[in-house]
Symmetry: C2
Subunit: 469 residues, 2 copies
């Protein structure tokens, strides 16, 4: 890219918001896992949709590749420029206005750059709930949540980011603005454009704003750590809790003993509230729209009957809000607790909920065949069929030698996933990390349709090239 | 179409299932409203996905337009061939197998031709709920429900047909089969193809099977007819009920007095359970996953506090299941009750829930400006912002003269809808009925994107031509 072109782009946002080099540019070209550091001559930080539109029009005119970026928390490299130095980064973070909260329609209309936690808090202040909840919620942004169709914990009762979105504003590669910021639950006027941009990781257009759903705020929430003998028992408990609480079952996380032992060893606080004597654990939350007492009575009745019937072995209910936060903290610490155990190879998979127990058996065999002695750290959103199936190196093994098994390990685990009609990317997306595998293993007819969409929406190929497809 | 070509198509399904003429063909070329009777030389009734695939391959080879058809209950002409005699009808009704009900994953995998009521019953027998509920449920089919993204009453708590679908099997115009029959709630592997076919009314491909969500069956349901002074009061009641019951608020239907008076006059049974002394009425249902008593206590507490606070004027709770059926029957009879009052002009619109009261005021003025004395029959799914805003002719007016106002009336009402960021087709779709209006009034950039999708998925233009776009 020559200086004249860089100057034309910079002039759209003003020099102050055109980051060209040095320390200022670092946060935009490095990412959480340290895998996809890229190179860019320019990060543009527009302050309005009109500026985004003018940037894209100029990009189309000059065939300049553009990489949209939100809070830069993505785990698959979707928000990173490549190493060519020929791609510019388009940061949406300055578009950070909550345009409206409508408590009658139960919607919020927000700019793409609003931080998830900011929206959660604004909803809370309006006595509503925005239920999307992610580990990165303090820095990830709504536009990125939608572009990657984020999932997280709240998806069980409320759905993934896609399910929570009613309308979008999108700047197309040409700079045209698609204004579909509508608050409608029912709207059958032609093809569903919105859901194409959601989950497209910025390869079809730039999401600049969205209308999202809000919900009544639960009046009571109760959380329990539960010990069980097997994934089958967890599945039985899930069925019972679903039956008893329906939409009030707001969290159902599964964890094997291994990651909890790692947590006890390396991050002893907060401790596991029940002894590490069981093979499997569930962290379950029950919410009530009525009262705290109601949620308490409901979770107690579920756990009591499950104990009586031998479905579960042990359980501890959080005594207060601070303990509930500890319960969740322990679950959230599990990836961190793995680090001192050496190198790890991670998977973000989903299978039908009913297939979780069989998957766990078959995947363990697959892991063992690739790396005997490797230690499976299995935990995740069981109620959604979504496991973060992480594998730590064998004790005493060479980390590099273990990481050299990354691809065979992925393939072995993903083969099990595919055989069970599952997904090799449940909630993190494709980005760069899984692009080759997606193209190699998805049904060719699906890839063909995706390519047709890509080339008809972005014929110049300037929207986040090299990602997804 | 020459006889040789007709013979080639017929050979795929066998003569028995190739309907060519006479009385047998009538049910496939006439539709509920009698507006879109078409002409076809051939109705094909394939018995397998493979036959559908071979039909589409031959259609592509010979550039033969194909009109997919389910239960033929659509209200916008989407399932009808045109009058050219050059389009063949592809009936999916023989694909009517429920492939699997998975009570752990809470899914049903069903052929496109399964009748909605059949699926409802099968779910019920498995102690689950399939919540899609439509007036036509005794004859409409799952494939049509998805192709038209049907809404109905259950959408309030459970979502529209799109929200209820996890996976699809689709035969493309070329005959290729896209197998995406997955049971996954979380799956971020590339563009969302599924949601493109849903609501596309058969213009992009032929849906042959689907995975749909099932829910725990409520253990208690309580229904009440409620009298109120205004739509504002109904909105306040909706807020309270939503707050108190959350996902347990499973129906919130609004009706003005006029259609209820018509029902009392022309279809006196079942009667309105409260006097026709109020200006507005709400039919509300509260469900509980716990017990009938729980649902009863909840609906009573909502109604009591609303009465005390002057939000509502009167209410009657159904005493038993049979009375609850009568309550619903009265609501369902409202379109029928309009018929003896002469000609009517109908609208299927949605606006943000918060805008419902303002819409009702502004739309009434629009109606009056087009046809002074015309009687508005306003009722519908208020909780979804979706009203069936029907207009009966003025007393004593000439029906033909009134119907001649169809377009100006539509335009006047739809102008109000558009000014409020609403939808001119909330749940019935576009089909033939609203195609010209969609193209003329939707943002050109949206129409352009839809056309790009259409031409990249169906370059030969053989999939249900003349519909939607």
């Amino acid at each position: 890219m020559d200086d004249a072109l860089i100057g034309r782009f910079a002039a759209i946002v003003g020099e102050k918001y055109a980051v060209r080099a040095g320390a200022d540019i670092v946060p935009f070209v490095s990412e959480p896992r340290g895998l996809y550091g890229g190179v860019t001559p320019l990060v543009l930080r527009p302050g309005s949709v009109d500026e985004v539109s003018r940037i894209m029009a100029l990009a189309t005119e000059t065939r300049t590749p553009v990489v949209p970026q939100g809070g830069n928390t993505g785990l698959v490299g979707g928000q990173m420029p490549d190493k060519s130095g020929g791609q510019i980064v388009l940061s949406l973070s300055r578009l950070n206005r909550i345009r409206e909260i409508d408590t009658h329609s139960n919607t919020a209309t927000v700019d793409a750059g609003v931080i998830l936690e900011t929206l959660q808090q604004a909803a809370d202040q309006a006595d509503r709930l925005y239920p999307l909840a992610l580990a990165s919620q303090g820095s990830c942004e709504i536009g990125g949540n939608l572009s990657s169709n984020a999932g997280g914990v709240g998806a069980l009762a409320y759905g993934v980011a896609r399910d929570l979105c009613l309308g979008l504003e999108v700047v197309l590669p040409t700079g045209e603005v698609l204004d579909d910021l509508r608050k409608l639950k029912k709207d059958n006027t032609g093809y569903d454009l919105k859901d194409l941009f959601i989950g497209a990781e910025g390869t079809l257009g730039v999401i600049t704003a969205a209308v999202v759903k809000l919900f009544p705020k639960p009046k009571g929430r109760e959380m329990a750590w539960i010990g069980l003998a097997s994934p089958e028992a967890a599945l039985a408990l899930f069925g019972r809790a679903n039956e008893a609480a329906g939409a009030g079952l707001t969290m159902f996380e599964l964890a094997h003993r291994t990651p909890l032992e790692f947590a006890a060893l390396h991050l002893p606080s907060p401790p596991c509230p029940i002894p590490l004597d069981y093979e499997w654990y569930v962290l379950m939350e029950i919410s009530s729209g009525r009262s705290g007492e109601d949620a308490r009575a409901l979770i107690e009745s579920i756990l009591e009957s499950a104990l009586e019937d031998g479905v579960i072995e042990d359980a501890a209910i959080a005594a207060n809000l601070s303990q509930a936060r500890d319960f969740w903290q322990l679950r959230e610490n599990l990836p961190e607790a793995q680090k001192p155990e050496g190198a790890s190879i991670k998977h973000d998979i989903s299978v039908p909920v009913a297939a979780i127990p069989a998957f766990i058996v078959r995947a363990a065999k697959a892991v063992e065949s690739v790396s005997p002695g490797a230690r499976v750290c299995c935990f995740g959103h069981m109620g959604d069929g979504n496991l973060h199936y992480n594998v730590s190196q064998p004790v005493g093994a060479n980390p590099e030698a273990f990481l050299a098994l990354y691809k065979p390990m992925n393939h072995a685990v993903h083969d099990v996933v595919r055989a069970m009609d599952g997904s090799i990317s449940a909630e993190h997306g494709i980005g760069v990390l899984k692009r080759d595998e997606l193209i190699a293993t998805a049904p060719p007819v699906a890839i063909d349709l995706m390519r047709r969409i890509k080339s008809s929406f972005d014929p110049a190929g300037i929207m986040n090239p090299g990602k997804v497809i």
